[in-house]
C-alpha cells in the first residue's frame, strides 16, 4: 500500500494535498482497494460551501457504495471532469488521475487535525 508522505489523511480514508489555500482531495490506496472496482463517482456539490465532515458526494463500486466526506471546510471549486468517463482511475491512480475535488479552504487551522502518512499507515495497519 502506498501512502505518499507529502499528503495528509483522514480516518474516512481520504487524502488531502494542500497548495496555498486550496486542497485537492481523493480517496486513499487503501480505500480504493477495499471498495474494489469503482464504476461511478457522483459529486454534485460543485460551487457549494460545505463544512468539515459533511458529505460532498459518493463513490459507487460494483459491490458497494460509500459516501465521501469533506476533510476540511470550504468551497468546492472543481470536480475532476475526467472521472465521469474513467472512474477506474480512482483504482489505478488514486493520488493522481483519480483526484476528486479541489476545495478553497475556509479555515486553515483545520489542517492541524489531519493525519500524517505515518499516522494513517498505523490506522489501516498496512
Amino acid at each position: 500500500m502506498n501512502f505518499p508522505a507529502e499528503l495528509k489523511y483522514t480516518k474516512d480514508h481520504e487524502w488531502v494535498r494542500i497548495e496555498g489555500d486550496v486542497a485537492t482531495i481523493g480517496i486513499t490506496d487503501f480505500a480504493q482497494s477495499e471498495l474494489g472496482d469503482i464504476v461511478y463517482v457522483d459529486i454534485s456539490t460543485q460551487g457549494e460551501t460545505l463544512s468539515r465532515e459533511t458529505v460532498f458526494g459518493s463513490v459507487e463500486a460494483v459491490k458497494t457504495v460509500s459516501d465521501l466526506f469533506m476533510p476540511l471546510s470550504g468551497e468546492v471549486l472543481e470536480v475532476n471532469p475526467d472521472l465521469d468517463a474513467t472512474p477506474e482511475a480512482v483504482n489505478s491512480d488514486p493520488y493522481g488521475k483519480g483526484w476528486m475535488v479541489k476545495v478553497k479552504l475556509s479555515d486553515m487551522a483545520e489542517i492541524d487535525a489531519l493525519m500524517t502518512a505515518a499516522d494513517y499507515t498505523a490506522l489501516v495497519g498496512a
Binding site: 474494489g36 472496482d37 464504476v39 461511478y40 457522483d42 459518493s58 459507487e60 460494483v62
Partner: protein, 363 residues
C-alpha cells in the same frame, strides 16, 4: 447460536493467493482475487473456478425419500430419473420461501439436496419436521467440498482430468466417476453464472489436490480463480434469484417469477394458497430493470413511479460488466411490470430513472 466464522477446506488457499476475504453466510470466503470485473469477464469468456464449498448438501435415502421431497418442494421431483438435477424451492406455510435448492436424483431412493449456506440449519430443521415417514437423512455439508468451474472453456479444462464424457452431459444432469484419479466424484452440468460449465462435488480431503489440478489443466485456457463478487454480478446478469436478496421468507415463488418450478401436479407445503395466487394473479412481481440515469440501485432502495409514489423496492443491483450498464431486480406493483415501462429508483436524495427490462440481461 455461534458467531464463529467457519472455513472451507480451501480458505487458507484463498488467503495464500491474496484474495480479499469476507464472512459470507458464516464462512470466511474469497470475495475477489485479482479484481471483480476481470474475474467476471474471464468466466464469461474463458473459464473461472469458484470455491463454493460453503453450500449445504443433504442426502435423503429410503423408500419415502421422494415423497418427502414431493411434499416439501414446489417442483415435481417425480420427473427426475437417476442422473438428473432439478431447480426447486421449499415453500413455507405462510406464502414465502424457506430456501431455493437443487435436487439431485442419485437413484430412485436416494437424493442429494443442495441448499444455501446461510440456510443449512433452517432447511435441515424444516425437512426434519416434515420427515414423518422415517426417511434417512444425512447432512454432509461439513465434509463436502464444491468447486464450480464455469465458462466456455470449463469443459476443455475438466475433460483433461476425467474420462467421463462431459460433452455428452446435457444441462442439469450429472455423472459420478473418476476425477483426478479419485473415484466417486460427482460432476454436474450446472452453475449459477449462465456461462456454461460444471460443478464438482467431493470429499474435503481432495480439495487442495483438485484445486491445483484444475488450475493446472485450465492454464492453457487462461483459467483464473473467481470470487463471490463476480459470482453475484454473473448471476444477476442472468436474472437468477439470490436467496436473502430477491427471495426470502416473505416472497412467494409466483411473485418471484418461479412459477416454472411451481408445479401443481401434487400437493406440497402451501400449494393450495400458491395455486389460488397463481390463478388470481399477483399484486407485485419481481422484474429486471436497467438504469437510464446514472447511478446504481442497491438492495433495499425504494422504487417510485413518476409522481414519487412508492411502488416497490430493489432486491439486487450492480454495475454489470458484460451488459456494460447498471442493472437490478426488484419487486414492483403489477401495473409497472411491462418491459420498457419507466420506474424511478430512489438513490439517496435523488429519483433516478430506470426502465423495466426482460430477463435475462445477458442472452
Amino acid at each position: 447460536m455461534t458467531t464463529e466464522v467457519k472455513e472451507t477446506a480451501l480458505t487458507q488457499k484463498h488467503i495464500s493467493l491474496g484474495a480479499k476475504m469476507a464472512p459470507f453466510a458464516g464462512y470466511n470466503m474469497p470475495i475477489q482475487y485479482e479484481g471483480l470485473t476481470i474475474e467476471h469477464h474471464n468466466v464469461r469468456n474463458a473459464v473461472g473456478m469458484f470455491d463454493v464449498s460453503h453450500m449445504g448438501e443433504f442426502i435423503l435415502k429410503g423408500q419415502h425419500a421422494l415423497d418427502l421431497i414431493q411434499r416439501t418442494t414446489s417442483n415435481d421431483a417425480s420427473k427426475l430419473t437417476a442422473g438428473k438435477v432439478q431447480y426447486s424451492c421449499l415453500p413455507n406455510a405462510t406464502g414465502g420461501i424457506v430456501d431455493d435448492l437443487l435436487v439431485y436424483c442419485i437413484d430412485e431412493q436416494t437424493y442429494m439436496l443442495v441448499v444455501n449456506a446461510g440456510n443449512i440449519q433452517k432447511d435441515w430443521e424444516w425437512l426434519m419436521q416434515n420427515n414423518t415417514q422415517g426417511v434417512e437423512m444425512h447432512n454432509i455439508s461439513d465434509k463436502t467440498s464444491l468447486l464450480a468451474v464455469q465458462g466456455p472453456k470449463a469443459i476443455n479444462t475438466l475433460q483433461k482430468l476425467t474420462d467421463l464424457p462431459l460433452a455428452d452431459m446435457p444441462y442439469y444432469t450429472f455423472m459420478k466417476g473418476v476425477f483426478c484419479g479419485i473415484p466417486n466424484v460427482l460432476i454436474s452440468n450446472t452453475g449459477y453464472t449462465g456461462a456454461g460449465g460444471f460443478e464438482v462435488y467431493f470429499e474435503n480431503q481432495y480439495a487442495l489436490t483438485f484445486w491445483d489440478a484444475i488450475m493446472q489443466a485450465g492454464a492453457a485456457f487462461n483459467i483464473k480463480p473467481a470470487g463471490l463478487g463476480c459470482r453475484d454480478t454473473l448471476r444477476l446478469e442472468m436474472g437468477f434469484c439470490l436467496y436473502g436478496n430477491d427471495i426470502d421468507d416473505t416472497t412467494s415463488p409466483i411473485e418471484a417469477g418461479l412459477g416454472w418450478i411451481t408445479k401443481f401436479t401434487k400437493p406440497f407445503t402451501n400449494s393450495d394458497a400458491l395455486k389460488a395466487q397463481k390463478e388470481a394473479g399477483v399484486n407485485r412481481k419481481l422484474v429486471g430493470f436497467e438504469m437510464i440515469d446514472k447511478g446504481i440501485a442497491r438492495h433495499g432502495y425504494v422504487i417510485n413511479d413518476l409522481n414519487g409514489n412508492a411502488i416497490g423496492y430493489v432486491t439486487s443491483g450492480t454495475q454489470a460488466p458484460t451488459v456494460g450498464k447498471a442493472i437490478g431486480m426488484g419487486y414492483v406493483a403489477k401495473a409497472f411490470t411491462e418491459p420498457g415501462m419507466e420506474i424511478f429508483i430512489q438513490v439517496r436524495d435523488k429519483n433516478l430513472k430506470a426502465s423495466i427490462t426482460k430477463l435475462p440481461f445477458v442472452k
